[in-house]
Symmetry: D3
Subunit: 319 residues, 6 copies
């Protein structure tokens, strides 16, 4: 069972109201890498976990993430405190209120729809989605997801720190960022406490394909590295010659029963295209004369569009 | 630029049509860990990558994932081939068609809305979401996300293999599963080819909080492990006594200007609750006599609900 | 700050595994009226609340709802415990696993994607949405939303109780259902502890329209009641004669500047339809002879469709 | 059947085009508390309603809400009329058009994607969702949802009035706001015309838990009020001592069959964590020397982060 | 199978970084009419297509759209290149970074969450949705959807061209726009190469209703045109007199079994409204005296709201 | 303004309740091609339309689609009428209710969450989305979207007719299907009443690319047809040799300022990968011995996976 103490895990000291900044910070409240996503990721894993140690760790960290959700939400409430009251009491002139509500970010919807409280949305106003929670019920996969999620959340806090010059806010954001680092370390320890955690799950890979690198993107820019070359890798460079990799015919087939075969044939016949005709089409009807083959002059009437040829000279000195 | 060859990377041989199984396999077509999510994860990272080696690898693997999307979609098309034609041609009796469309999984919507083609949904019919793509523009975070995503996708293929007894399908799914293993290995190599890849991003953590474990979930089930104990960790067990961790007052505060202060006060006064009264409420109006304090007998009239006390004895021998 | 004790608020005793039932119960985990939606509704309100009493109540109930989320999630984990392990270990034959995964509800995705853990989705597999949280930052509106939400959640638990014959499950669901009743009572008391809580917000309604009932749906079935008749109501029955209600011209107009007027005119001219011609269309091109005016016989070729006339006799004795 | 008259229910007189304001007003077109959500909430209830009076009322109000959708959409069209034509005709310079499209709110997407017409989105550009419609098929729940929804919609109109100084717009918004007040009154009358409307549904609550208040959030800020104290309430303050509330063991259990037990054990064994080791992890590999225990100096290299201690002094005078 | 060449189909030359413009261009990356939606529309159709010619065409164009996705994503990456590095390296002052991130459009979320890479969202930050892909598995419907989609995509590019004065960008956008024109022409040819492509599918329409125009919107503004008048149309103007169109009773009925009838009756009785009483309601409780019938003076206290009468004079000269 | 008459546009006579069928029919209530999507598509276009004829037509058809929404919703209500009451009154045994709720389709959520009323979801329970409404504010694009949407909706009704043997239901569905045919005809007439409706919008295509077909998918299955060959087309078959099509360098470039250049370089240096090393990775840590190069024997331990070689013989006789 959860219990709550009204003391925050970390003190929040905001220097000045700033609704636009509040709307950015919502990214960590109801966004993809936000604290609710984190709490629910670990909580759902913890409830179904058979290993007592991992279960305890997952519930510890889930609970702490809820406490961080409280810190982030409190920051948003403080940044919006004045704007919320101004709008509710209609204390400013209409034009002033309008300007204050459209000062940037997604602050307009925050004020208009949510009245300045923390909303379960990201910084664009997109509602939180359960799809952010990628728990799959396998610890070797889930712990890797948790490690990655902590790594992402750390980055978002770093970016928020970089755009904030309020020392109290920077301080609280620094605390939150650092806790993601600590959590990642816990998840790393838990992952490597499982013997044989690679590959995920139980089934091993098929030997002919588990160390194969397929060089599907070619041309200028091909680079060798330990991710595609060396003794841990087999490698295919002439892809067109190698496919299909199983030596079959490279087609998709299914064995249909007699009835199905007949009906598939009927469908194919009914909807067959007549590739030999050149039918008049809606585009032919809709275009003026010459539309089938537009001339260069067509462009001239409306707006000046640069010629591709002219552009080719302009590309020097690009970064 | 992309080019396409109509030969599949791996031959697809389906023994029998099975629309319900097709609807499950859509999890890897338009689902959270499916091939489109994978392709777009790496493609979006590759387009913005400054490092030539990582860019090449990301485009290689993105392109291969598109080829896997083609394999998965072709499996779905084969499993639905007969059902699609039967419905389009109305070749079976209505009742038979109805039964065939409600045979399990999400096959009803697949037939009704998508006509048996592969749809950009998961196995529940939930449309693919761009939110599955968790690229963040920082290689030390993104590569961890890629590693985790490959680990998750591998598990889903393993589960599909476990429920399929069609040898051709098992074969193709085994190939796809194994390629996720290989891709994970590439991303691991790329991650550890970056010096100083932990923590993610550039900013280090704050020393007082980076090695701290907060034991927020207590009671029976507390377990020590390398994720919360040992020399790499400081640890707080008496959480209530320790908060706030910064030695402040544990409150959220903001410095308001004079005008804002006055308006906040006005809002508070206008919406204050009178905690001393006991007002009549809508619930009081809506309930019959005694509703404020329901009696045990209330339960009896409608349905038998077991007493909590009686239940307490029944719990032995649970697994 | 949140803290957690591994003892549940209410003991969960499940008699038998049942993944299909588990998928239904997810409605209260990640669904619109589920426990996370409830917890977040009250939590977001509490963080921005100025009234100490309401803030305390909102945090109390939010925390309890998180504890209910834990109970619901634990029920789901118990109902799926066997199925999860069977799939992970591939301990049954493929065909058996396939059948067990498609036994109804949304259990197929629960097993395939989420591995039997509680997922942040509803009973159809639709991901939880932050849009379920309808906090608006005004207490007279938010408390009404809370009252309604508790009323809805109560109904969903009632329906789950009605389809379950496991006494331990019925017992836990009965507890959860009852707590919604208690929470509704608290929110009712808090709403009516605010003087002048109707209408919501601060601005009163415009007198000419605040007691007006517009009878827009007419014909057989018009009924008088206290919601549209009596001394508290003015009423308009001849709607067509009454509009527009403001005595204006009933049009939408805007004052455009001279430049805008000219450009709007240019747009109108460029895209004007020629209502006097009868152009050949894509439909005309695409249909066979007679398609412009289909004959009754057209229907006969494909499937028998009942005549409307024949149907008219069949309608007697409908309930 | 629906019919339409081109006269609006209320005349719309917009003084000046303003695409950014138009994008805010979309909140009431395709947003959570907007007119389509309202119309569909009542319409879906009305279609399945058995009570003739409520059915009539629901269809009356649904139809009026559609007429309000028309008013709101017409306002949006008027505010965008000039901008739409300017963009379609490319009548301004590119830079001017660019500036006009990024003037605030969500006007950029409104122009770019929707061409200045009213879009089925909210003020952030989030598409309308059927999840806004919370009809549950029980009148005692649904009417409470309707009451709450009208209360919320009233607030959004109030906020829009507060930021608008165009008298014609203020006038139309005032009309729309007031109609929500009137509708709430109708729904209140209908709710209390049902005997025994509390609790919702049919099943009464379990007596031991229906009047219980659990004080789960404690610490400074605990407040007594009629929502948690007094003769209508039992109350638990020592929560940790009271759980589980049913006198059981507070665990979640399930009776597994023999086969399931064995497989669960196998899963647990295969994925067990070794809590006694301290494995080298990916974080250990990825961090430079000392990363396991960051020093205070680590912070210095990148950006100045204020010390928590230094911040503690700064908190005086916060509002 | 897909292959990739690092040369773009069209050279991208961006004159200056502009993150706000980048966020607009995302509409064509992850938006409803963007390149991924297009590629997936044709790809899903192609995989299930029986006609060899259409299959080839669909895979050709799908592959080209992926190449256009690459061009659009590369434009976004170039426009964000500086901003991405500035934020990652924290090379500017915090206030400068904050300003650069809130310069318009949805650039704040692009920088904060996605780090400046192309994100699978539209220009409002709404994640790409599989619901944009409207493939239905019938070629006469799907080709019309493709024609329409190309027509929409062309318009979005036209609007982007109209707001951009960077010649290199204009050039690349012009190329992309023009390719949509060419693709529409291909789909038109393919549609009209099917004999009998109207109506879609196999079943013809019912003759009495296939050429009927129902004039449901009346009043000032009724216009005749070839879409509702002339020899191809039957027409109903007196709609109220004509319904129901089948000569039945215009009701919805179902034949219920005896048990169902009894239970429906029980439900109706239990939830019946008492239309004869005038119950006290929550609104009555919540409002001050006179709230049931607000007076005109009520409006005066808070804000000046213009009288509807006064407004009526102001409407002259609206455009 | 809208008005409503309780007589349906077409009589609904349902022979027998069938909640699973009801859940399929929801596809046309709240699905992508359903009646609400249609009504809102035309309504949003109509509100912003400058041409009086098109505006009238759009409002006529929008209003009729709302009336069809009413018919579809009434069908759903009739099919669910018994099940709704049985669940609300708990009139059957729990096990019977459970079975009746999991009889197929998405009926479980329809009963559990929506109580048997029509819900604003599709046949999978996915909430209606405003993204289904693809109005773009340009008549030549919007009318094509309308044509395509009617074509799709017609197909879904055809499929529903094909799976239904209830004559009353078939009759009503046939009416609804036919009206889509009639509406398509109206939109076709309106499209071709605009001179110069191709391409959409105002700007013509660039001549060098408007008649170009790029044969990007090659290999077995290449087919010539009027969509890619003949005098209306230029064609590129040797794609690799032709790119970039503009004669440039095929790269994406941007001109960065000096400061940006320096910071981009710093970012690149900080995150550079060391392609020459072969680092130990998390996968190396996590796998047992030999994992870097799995042997064929690895597969044997868990499940029998067919060898690719063995599969190659099995492919004969596929349909």
């Amino acid at each position: 069972m959860f219990m709550h103490n009204k003391t925050l895990q970390y003190t929040v000291r905001v220097a000045d109201p700033n609704p636009a900044l509040a709307s950015l910070i919502l990214e960590q409240f109801g966004g993809a890498d936000g604290e609710l996503a984190a709490a629910m990721r670990y909580f759902t894993q913890g409830l179904a976990e058979e290993d007592a140690g991992r279960k305890d760790m997952l519930l510890d960290i889930a609970t702490e993430e809820l406490s961080h959700l409280e810190i982030v939400g409190s920051i948003v409430a403080m940044l919006n405190k004045g704007a919320k009251a101004q709008l509710a009491e209609a204390a400013m002139e209409e034009a002033e209120l309008y300007i204050s509500m459209t000062a940037g970010g997604n602050s307009h919807t925050q004020s208009l729809l949510f009245g300045g409280g923390p909303s379960l949305t990201n910084s664009s106003g997109v509602p939180f989605s359960g799809a952010y929670v990628d728990s799959r019920g396998d610890p070797s996969a889930d712990l890797r997801s948790n490690i990655a999620a902590e790594g992402r959340a750390k980055i978002i806090y770093e970016r928020l720190i970089n755009i904030t010059d309020d020392p109290g806010l920077k301080d609280a954001l620094g605390f939150l960022m650092t806790r993601e680092v600590a959590h990642q370390k816990s998840f790393e320890k838990a992952l490597y406490s499982i013997n044989d955690n690679f590959p995920t799950g139980k089934l091993p890979g098929l030997a002919p394909f588990a160390s194969l690198y397929v060089n599907t993107s070619q041309g200028d820019g091909d680079v060798d590295g330990p991710w595609n070359s060396g003794e841990q890798w087999d490698r295919i460079d002439d892809v067109a010659a190698a496919i299909p990799l199983d030596g079959g015919n490279g087609l998709a087939t299914v064995k249909l029963g007699k009835d199905d075969k007949a009906v598939v044939a009927a469908l194919a016949a009914r909807t067959a295209s007549d590739a030999s005709a050149n039918p008049t089409t809606g585009a032919d009807l809709g275009a003026g004369p010459g539309a089938g083959r537009m001339s260069d002059e067509d462009m001239g009437g409306a707006k000046d569009m640069p010629e591709a040829a002219a552009m080719a000279d302009a590309e020097t000195d690009h970064g």
